[in-house]
């Protein structure tokens, strides 16, 4: 199993979720994060003083999937989150050793 963690543009969340659901992924967890990267932030002016907003709002999507679904998930996210503009984000794949569904105690792929 893997955790596929994607950093995406916030307004792409619905599309990403739909793409993952279409794959048969039934659960995911999202977090509001701020990203720093090649995408330039912007300069704001507050009372005559410039200040750089270099961290941009992003959404982190974490989804635990069985090994055979990893590539599908990556593809689904890539396609649905892409705008072609800088700042589209990243997908990271992290090993997942164990998963437990708290309610039932089921483990691993049964738990996803």
């Amino acid at each position: 199993m893997k955790i596929v963690m994607a950093i995406i543009k916030p307004f792409k969340l619905e599309e990403v979720r739909d793409a993952l659901t279409a794959l048969g992924v039934h659960g995911l967890t999202v977090t509001e994060v701020k990203g720093y990267g090649r995408q330039k932030g912007h300069t704001e002016i507050y009372r005559g003083a410039e200040y750089a907003v270099s961290f941009l709002p992003k959404i982190k999507v974490e989804v635990a999937v069985a090994d055979d679904q990893v590539q599908g998930a990556i593809d689904a996210i890539s396609q649905s989150a892409r705008t072609g503009q800088i700042g589209d984000g990243k997908i990271f794949v992290i090993p997942l050793e164990k998963a437990v569904r708290i309610r039932t105690g089921e483990t691993d792929s049964d738990a996803l």
Partner: protein, 444 residues
């Protein structure tokens, strides 16, 4: 004028008194005359009424600002605040430079007066029934209200510059012209149209201008899906929206109450009091109707409908807050509240994107309120009411439509798609409303 002195001044009382000294103590008629306020007292009190009414209506500018700040998403809140303080200031200047005189100076049954800056008469020599400056102040805040109505509807996508340019025209020219027809004693007034405090003159005019604006600028991105689905874009802060509504409700006592235009006699004072009572009853009726309907239809009570219901009740009673019985006032307001609950989804079906509900509240309830004046006011009749509603509507739709289109051609009206999704605060204001809380980025 002699008549006025006879009925108003203590001097008259003396004169009369001298003519029938012996009769004085017994003669109630005479004693009654002598209880009146001297003319200067009436001048002072009428002026005070305008000033109190005026500052209450001025406060409505804050009400609109808070209501709208609460109803837009957090990424557009600073802009909404800026538009509101900007429009109030613009109205305050334009109505001095040109609007007041265009509306009141020498209309004489015609279509408009003579544009030009108003001067303040020297207080030492000023005559009349009230201070001119107090009337200007009171009329100016009405003019500003009209512009406030527009800002809510076209929120979250229109640029600041074009909006303020529209406000310049609306408050300097459009509102004063239709205002002149009625309150400037123009042709509509002569025909017998009746609109006590401006359900049509103020609220519908603002509503029409908002409607044309909404049609021309288009809906917010994401509001209507291609498959016809209406997407809710909930506002950022319900307590601010509630605060704004309470502010507006408070201000409305000035709006309607001081539209009696005088408070120097028992009759006028009692009328102002009746207006206060009916105004409150109508608003309460609007709230309760909206609460009940929203519970019945949706099984939940939508706070924003209750808030809009209060305002719709207030707009509905504005055309005639004096004549109705309390029961009728409640009923008129309650229908206003119902209009909100039915018209908001209807507008969404028509893909008219009105962020704060200004069209149901100000335009539709304004029409409703104007229409039912003859129910209680014998001097009004339905035909003239309809003529007034249609004439003012037609003029405002056409004129404001042209103005919107010209501004669109020259400056453009809306921000780019990307800017809209970033939020106007980042793009045009540079100051986020809640820099520490909201990401300003789509809601999860």
């Amino acid at each position: 004028m002699v008549q006025r002195l006879l009925t108003r001044s203590a001097g008259a009382a003396i004169a009369l008194g001298l003519m029938s000294v012996a009769a004085l103590a017994q003669d109630a008629e005479v004693a009654e005359v002598s209880t009146e306020l001297p003319a200067d007292g009436q001048f002072v009190l009428n002026t005070l009424l305008f000033l109190i009414g005026g500052f209450l209506v001025m406060w409505m500018a804050a009400g609109f600002a808070m209501l709208e700040a609460g109803m837009v998403r957090s990424k557009n809140v600073s802009m909404q605040c800026l538009k509101n303080i900007g429009l109030y200031s613009t109205a305050g200047l334009m109505y001095w430079i040109i609007g007041y005189n265009l509306m009141y100076e020498g209309v004489d049954g015609g279509w408009f007066g003579s544009p030009g800056p108003i001067g303040i008469p020297d207080p030492a020599t000023e005559g009349g029934d009230y201070a001119v400056a107090s009337d200007w102040f009171f009329q100016m805040v009405f003019c500003a209200t009209t512009a406030s109505i527009v800002s809510g509807t076209i929120a979250e996508r229109m640029k600041l510059g074009p909006f303020l340019v529209f406000v310049v025209i609306l408050t300097g020219i459009l509102y004063p012209i239709t205002g002149a027809w009625q309150w400037g004693e123009g042709w509509l007034y002569e025909m017998g149209f009746s609109d006590f405090a401006g359900s049509t003159i103020v609220h519908s005019v603002g509503g029409w201008a908002a409607l044309t604006g909404a049609l021309i600028v288009g809906a917010r991105k994401g509001k209507y899906s291609e498959d016809g689905k209406v997407n809710a874009l909930p506002g950022s802060s319900m307590p601010l929206a509630t605060l704004g509504t309470f502010i507006l409700w408070l201000g409305w006592f000035g709006f309607n109450g001081a539209s009696q235009l005088a408070i120097g006699t028992i009759e006028d004072a009692a009328s102002v009091a009746t207006v206060f009572m009916n105004t409150n009853l109508a608003a309460a009726g609007g709230v309760i109707a909206a609460i009940i309907l929203s519970q019945v239809i949706y099984k939940k009570v939508d706070l924003t409908f209750a808030l809009n219901g209060a305002l719709a009740g207030l707009v509905s009673i504005t055309a005639e807050p004096l004549a109705p019985s309390p029961a009728l006032a409640v009923a008129i307001g309650a229908v206003g509240g119902a209009i909100v609950v039915f018209a908001v989804p209807l507008l969404d079906k028509l893909k008219i994107d009105d962020v704060v509900g200004a069209i149901p509240v100000h335009l539709l309830a304004g029409i409703w309120g104007t229409l039912v004046v003859p129910l209680s006011n014998g001097d009004a009749n339905f035909v003239t009411q309809i003529i007034g509603i249609v004439a003012i509507g037609a003029f405002t739709v056409v004129a404001s439509g042209i103005v919107w289109l010209i501004i669109k051609a020259i400056m453009g009206l809306r921000v780019s798609e990307e800017e809209e999704s970033l939020g106007l605060d980042k793009v045009e204001v540079g100051v986020e409303a809640y820099p520490e809380f909201a990401s300003g980025a789509g809601r999860v």
